[in-house]
Amino acid sequence: MAKDKLPPLNERRRFLLQTLQGIGLATLGALTWSAYIDEASAASLVLRPPAALKEEDFLSHCIRCGLCVEACPFDTLKLARAGDNIPIGTPYFRAREIPCHMCKDIPCVPVCPSGALDESFVSTITKNGDKELDITLAAMGIAVIDADQCIAFWGIQCDACYRACPLINEAIVIDASRNDRTGKHAFMAPRVIGDVCTGCGMCEKACVTDKASIFVLPLAVAKGRAGSNYIKGWDAQDENRLKDQKGGGETTLTPKSSQKPIDYLNSEEF
């Protein structure tokens, strides 16, 4: 065999080869490992307990101890297991299965030892300076309605989500409008008020359609962003931002705007 003919490795060569082997193995290990972490930490469609830090910070803070899970009296919270496609060991809930019941004393939050759940997100300061827990400040997500499948939008009477909402008439309101198809009925469609909705998921649980037509999405997924270039003319605070804009205060003159706006309204066809 050719192997027998090779001269024995001297110490230095052996050392060098072993080092190279080590570096090779470590690189391989690091690569597979990091690919795994990258994938596992990318789950964005997961609902976290109330008062959770934003997903990225939440993942670096949570020590996966499950104390929040144990504190939850409704078994809402679960720890992600291998195969759940959620970073392993972290707490989450599925609203359609068991929603958050918005306990007044929020037992899951104060037990968190790591700061992954931050009590200050769900506390208000009372007049005499005490901190008071207030679950209505929670922002676990926002309920979103699929108006195509929600039967209330078809004109069928249903207000299951509205009735189930712990913040009835605040987080979900009913918009009544005329049903022109029949001429004598009304549509009574639910609408979610994003600022108020806590994302508890009671509505998703209550929805009567096969697959819930109202469901909670995490804020980062459900929310749009208008961009800073739009300024609300009806909002005094917003108007101030004009001053900070580059070229703020300049007026653009076009042939049309050379006339006074009031003349324009009076003279042109409108």
């Binding site: 930490s41 101890c65 104390l67 759940d84 790591s114």
Partner: protein, 274 residues
């Protein structure tokens, strides 16, 4: 009776390992308030926080500003192992130890040890993985080892329900059975490595008494961390290497009573003057 005596530490260790899991489990299922949480972080009697210092190191590397409870808990555990227990976590607490011990037992039964293909898996590998955990934590901003840790998976699995985690545990078992003897705990596990480092100077240690030793080598045969018993039959001294997990198997198998637990530093002077 003699069997009981020969296995006294083994029995105590299993009681300790199973007992802790049981308390955690009872906290989750029946709401007992003795030991809540899991090995990541727990609450003893609703007051004393205890947490995994290695996880805390990784989280700090990831840039997290951690809660006070967590830091206190990690401090308590670090102090305990640094002063007293050494690497005792591995043999007295960690649930994976039961899996790897089972693999080891089966290995002996099937006589796989005798046919093992001797490839070199360095015992230093765990320190490289330890370093890698911290580097990857810093890069990705999450505690990297906690994403793959079979210890966490098994521990949470036993307390909260196992799920797909069984595959990982089976992996560790098979690796230890067919792959390498003491493959996971003795070579790969960075948590074991971590406790080896912080427990280096701990007080409770196995001590070898050379005068009684008959050099039968049963202890080195049973020891999962062979190199730590390098003094057997040569010198009377403490097992000082951090890798010793204080599992006491060597003490139990020794028929000539040449090994026992002792308190280091306190008894070192005494024996030196003898």
């Amino acid at each position: 009776m003699t069997w009981l005596f020969k296995h006294r530490f083994l029995i105590l260790r299993r009681l300790s390992q199973i007992g802790m899991i049981f308390l955690y489990f009872a906290a989750n299922v029946w709401g007992w308030k003795i030991l809540q949480g899991n090995l990541g972080s727990s609450l003893l009697f609703e007051t004393l926080p205890l947490s995994d210092p290695f996880a805390v190191v990784q989280m700090s590397a990831a840039g997290a500003l951690l809660g006070l409870d967590l830091l206190i808990g990690a401090g308590i555990i670090t102090l305990f192992y640094a002063l007293i227990g050494g690497r005792a976590f591995c043999s007295w607490v960690c649930p994976v130890n039961m899996i790897t011990d089972a693999a080891n037992g089966l290995r002996r039964l099937l006589r796989i040890n005798e046919v093992e293909y001797r490839y070199v898996l360095s015992r230093h590998l765990r320190y490289w993985i330890l370093a890698l955990s911290i580097v990857l934590s810093a890069i990705f901003g999450v505690a990297a080892f906690e994403f793959v840790s079979p210890i966490g998976i098994l521990n949470r699995g036993l307390i909260f329900g196992i799920g797909f985690g069984g595959a990982v545990i089976a992996g560790v078992f098979l690796f230890d059975l067919f792959g390498a003897k003491n493959g996971f705990c003795g070579h790969l596990c960075p948590l074991g490595g971590f406790y080896s480092l912080i427990g280096r100077f701990s007080l409770i240690r196995v001590k070898h008494n050379q005068e009684k030793c008959t050099v039968c080598m049963k202890c080195t045969e049973i020891c999962p961390e062979k190199p730590v018993l390098h003094m057997i039959g040569k010198r009377s001294e403490f097992v000082t290497m951090g890798e010793c997990s204080n599992c006491a198997r060597c003490i139990e198998v020794c028929e000539s009573d040449a090994l026992h637990f002792d308190i280091r530093f306190l008894n070192q002077k005494k024996s030196a003057s003898l």
